[in-house]
């Protein structure tokens, strides 16, 4: 009896997945090959022919490895991205919006720009600049 798991491992051992996940994929594909071969044998095919037909299920192991990696890793990468980037970004955005609302309600109200008859527009309260800079330093 052929060791299908060893055969699959030989071809897909380099799958860039977590070890447990890789072992699962190898076991699953090996079970599929074993059942295919057994099915063909039950139909009356010789061992040699059945193995040959079973092996013809995969023409290009490298391509299969690539396709499995894409299929299984795509969502994982997104999940990590969500954890490492999107959630902290969203949290920072929400915090800064909250802080801005607080500053607007409780803090000084220095942003008053009024037309200057001689020079055009002028900034009336220079304190605004320091508040603004302080806020960005906090972010």
């Amino acid at each position: 009896m052929r060791d299908w798991e060893a055969l699959v491992e030989e071809h897909l051992g380099g799958l860039a997945l977590e070890p447990a996940e890789r072992a699962d994929v190898i076991a699953e594909l090996a079970a599929h090959l074993a059942e295919t071969c057994e099915g063909l044998r039950k139909q009356g095919m010789t061992e040699e022919k059945a193995v040959q037909r079973t092996l013809s299920q995969v023409e290009d192991w490298q391509e299969l490895r690539r396709r499995i990696q894409i299929a299984r890793r795509k969502e994982n990468i997104m999940t990590n991205r969500v954890k490492q980037f999107w959630f902290p970004s969203l949290l920072t955005l929400l915090l800064s919006m909250g802080l801005l609302m607080l500053i607007e309600r409780l803090g000084p109200k220095p942003w008053v720009i009024a037309p200057d008859h001689k020079m055009g527009w002028s900034l009336i309260a220079p304190a605004a600049e320091s508040t603004f800079l302080g806020y960005f330093c906090f972010l």
Binding site: Q57, V58, I68, A71, K74
Partner: protein, 110 residues
């Protein structure tokens, strides 16, 4: 024999449909699809598993290891609620496409 491009498009529908009747492992799924389509749709291992893994990632199916009465470990897939929800519009979409093609070919034969 249906050509490869159309096969790819209908593969998801075929898998979801065959799983509607209950949980199946990959080999049995491929066997039933071939049997029920009288050999028009055939899934090799290389075609089936990347598709199953992709559908699992999308949350349409869920796989779990089970041990058969003969003691063999198999990963059985079943439809999730999202998969069941997906099946109905997919069926409608393909049915509309095939109806349209039927109409078109009748017109061109007339």
């Amino acid at each position: 024999m249906i050509r490869a491009g159309i096969k790819r498009g209908t593969a998801e529908l075929a898998i979801l449909s065959v799983l509607e009747s209950g949980a199946l492992h990959g080999y049995e799924m491929a066997r039933r699809i071939e049997e029920q389509t009288k050999g028009s749709l055939r899934f090799t291992l290389a075609a089936l598993y990347p598709m199953l893994y992709r559908m699992e990632q999308r949350g349409w199916i869920r796989g779990a290891w089970e041990v058969s009465p003969s003691g063999r470990r198999r990963r059985c897939y079943r439809l999730t609620a999202a998969g069941k929800k997906k099946l109905s519009p997919l069926r409608k979409e393909w049915s509309e496409l095939f109806s349209a093609l039927r109409r078109l070919t009748k017109v061109s034969h007339a």
